[in-house]
Symmetry: none
Subunit: 200 residues, 4 copies
DNA sequence: AATGAATGAGGATTCATTCAT
DNA sequence: CATGAATGAATCCTCATTCAT
């Protein structure tokens, strides 16, 4: 059931299996609607096994949230920022971030849906909330930089970040609902959102 | 408990009380997290009474969803469209829609939050989904009209509608999270979103 | 299932049935060893029904404890004290108390076993502990009165009460274990315990 | 983890550690309320290790019970009987037994509390019950001897033993509940209990 | 012998729904 | 029409026991 390498049991393999199953089941059924037993059988382990790795359903929910929120952050502001920043222009940086979002949402549609399309309010702990806030701040920092460079329109950066990120979530929701997203639509969305952001 | 007029009990008063309580409790606790008993005591009726008016929790959830989704539609495309359409310009019409959203979200924050909480998937019935689709189509129709008039950028109208509505939801979320929205920020958001939409 | 009188359902009947079943099952299996489901089927109700009357197993445990501890107190210091007190002598009063214990333990062997032969420490709340303490104090008060009258030996009344009550519990345990208690043995025990108590 | 002597691991050391931990944890949490894992970590061994030494929790419970019940018996009727019996008088023998009880309860308060916690019924096996019975019989034998010597009151010895042992348990309970037991109170108790026992 | 991850039956509790009054 | 006590399946979590290493 758990992966083994060279005959020795991989210690974290079960934990990973549970985290993966949790993402899938939470996304499909909602955190609140997912039964631990469903989750266990999806992970191929017994219920009790989950509780060896996570003290409670809430802790598991936070672990899943954190794991993917951190990955999303790395996708957006990690290498994307590095390589593109070098290029210099705010527009290019925006493109890096936007495409990073897109890549992340395409590569991990369940994870993105779980992160953005659910009401986590009920069970997220301080650490999870803190990480979410930090990602938001990175977005705000980018907007401020763009404003100082005269390339992003003036006005409350929080509002602009909310509009941009909201637009992306809206787009992702249509994809999840079945829409196909070819290169043309991708370009359309990026251009449109950039026009929402850029200084006239 | 239920309102009476002239001494005779208003038959629909109980139904209204239940719908109001349901909106409040669903928004506060999530549809799945709301117990019928909580809802009943909030409405000031007995649990059994709810079942005289709605055959099931699911039916009640759909009734609440429908009631407000329809109101939202009327806000957006009812009188707003009438009066503003007359004025003619697409930009003015957009402003009417956007301000309509804003007014609705300000007047009924619980209702808007409830409508956008993305965990309806589980229980919405065909009729509810149909109404939601129809609102979306009205948005698409507006975009198409704008494109034909050369005032809205070309490209898949579904994508544009998703971006605009998503942006609004993102904005509303910050308000719900505690942000103040003065006239300046409102104008900023409207201008920005219009720039996302309009033909260059 | 629940008793009815004249066609109207007795409101407290279910509660009583649950309390009775709880006493029986707790005594037989220990508070900790008793499953709520066992208890429910013994009471002839569904599990959920128990929770309409008691918020938790702990609350139910305390309710049973209190109900019988109070009855025991009334048995010991209520009418027994009244009628016997009149007779005046400390010895007669002791007899009243001792016979009260005996009568209670004979009439409600389960209740006595539950009260005295189990470790309640884990779940008793403040009120329950207070009632237990008050009964003990009544015992102490009796001993002090006897000492002032010169009929009970001097020394810490708490120690004497502990010895007497402990002796009774020991006796009750043998009965519970199967011993028969004829009038002869009853008299023997009373005389012996009085000799433990009385001033030489 | 387990004690070693001269570099070789003492085979019984683990077993002893488990028995000690079991006494402590059973007394603190109740047999039923004690988890094997709690017990294991208190003993400083792995759960699986306990099962190398005891086939089941029940077996462990019986082992603890037996170990201490036997020690108690030795305390009461071993050397106490030897040395004191020689002295001859029943009163002196009683004093030996009573002081033996006192010494045992003072030296091993956990063990005494564990032995008297009346929820053993569920898991004690035939051997444990037999040992308990044999101690009781030793008490009965003492009483019979005293009756034959005319120094202990007539009547069913079982009743007298139950009263005496019960009185002691009651006394020990107050100590466990926090009462201090100076020499004065000790003497008071011994005198009182002997007066309960002795022929008038 | 020792380890501790895994197991899964069992326990306390919740809650949508029914129905006798 | 309204009531709310009763129901019992379903939920989260615990824990004695096993077994591969």
């Amino acid at each position: 059931m758990t992966a083994t390498i060279g005959g020795a049991s991989e210690p974290q393999a079960t934990r990973e299996a549970v985290l993966d199953a949790a993402l899938a089941v939470f996304t499909e059924h909602t955190y609140g609607g997912a039964a631990m037993s469903t989750l266990a059988s999806r992970a191929g382990v017994a219920v009790g096994t989950i509780y060896r790795h996570f003290p409670s359903k809430e802790a598991l929910g936070n672990a899943v949230y954190l794991r993917w929120k951190v990955q999303l952050a790395e996708h957006l502001f990690g290498d994307a920022a590095d390589s593109t920043n070098a290029a210099g222009s705010i527009r290019a940086e925006f493109s890096g971030i936007w495409r990073g979002l897109l890549r992340f949402a395409a590569a991990h549609p369940d994870a993105f849906a779980f992160l953005e399309l659910q009401q986590h309010a009920g069970y997220l702990d301080a650490q999870s909330i803190e990480v979410a806030r930090r990602i938001d701040q990175a977005g705000v920092a980018f907007v401020v930089r763009g404003q100082q460079a005269g390339e992003i329109r003036d006005g409350d950066p929080d509002v602009l970040v909310a509009l941009v990120y909201g637009a992306f979530v809206g787009l992702a929701a249509t994809v999840r609902a079945g829409a196909e997203l070819g290169e043309q639509r991708i370009q359309l969305a990026e251009d449109a959102v950039w026009d929402m952001l850029r200084a006239r």
